[in-house]
Amino acid sequence: MINFLKKIKTFGFGKNPVSHWFWQRITAVLMIVIFCWLIFVFQNLLNNFQENFYIWIKNPLNLILFIILIILVMHHSLLGILNIFEDYIHSIKIKRISSIFVKFISLILISISVFSVWHIAH
């Protein structure tokens, strides 16, 4: 149980490879669920998408789930990209620099997206 909690704590960024593997799966499963819901819901918004989206996102539950989805997507892709770096970049230095770079980019993407969605909702 303590090990399980340790895995949860690091979000897959720790030195522990099991945690990375674990978080990739957790985010994947959650994304499957949320995306199924989202595709189902977005069908009703399609004509005049912008206006309908503005109304739809005002519902707090939709807003929260959408923000969670954004974070899940970016975290899952970040873990995937880090995995590719781990496999194919030999030099430790380049690997470290590119990892920081990608983390930075995904943080920026999360911030802009969440900020925009938040702005639309309020």
Binding site: R25, A28, V29, I32, F35, Q50, F53, V73, M74, S77, G80, I81, I84, D87, Y88, H90, S91, I92, K93, I94, L109, I112, S113, F115, S116, V117, H119, I120
Partner: protein
């Protein structure tokens, strides 16, 4: 340049192409495509919130022939990555390791994502 002692994964040209390896590398490849697509989603959300002109510009671009072709590849990547991802999750749970089942499920998800995309874009 200092390197770690850990060996790298063998580079892709080493392998003889077969359906299993092709599907595996496509999974990564589509993943990277979707990562870059997330930049666009981010820009799209931003423009929807703050810049109507940019939003209209993006919409016009993606209703054109080039934009629609790009979107076709994106939806294909998405459905493929999702289906192959569930295949990976099933493997993690311990199902489908027989080589025959691996081939069958691989073929199945390719066909299924093709059907999904044809339905989505032509009906």
């Amino acid at each position: 340049m200092k390197s770690s002692n850990k060996p790298l994964s063998p580079h892709l040209q080493i392998y003889k192409p077969q359906i299993t390896s092709i599907l595996s590398i496509s999974h990564r490849f589509t993943g990277v495509i979707l990562f870059f697509f997330s930049f666009l989603i981010c820009l799209w959300l931003f423009s929807m919130a703050f810049n109507d002109r940019l939003y209209n510009l993006i919409n016009i671009f993606f209703s054109g022939i080039i934009g629609r072709t790009i979107l076709f590849f994106i939806t294909f990547s998405f459905s493929y990555h999702l289906l192959n991802g569930t295949r990976h999750l099933l493997w993690d749970l311990g199902y489908g390791y027989k080589i025959k089942n691996v081939y069958l499920s691989g073929l199945f998800i390719i066909l299924l994502s093709l059907v999904i995309n044809i339905y989505l874009w032509f009906f």
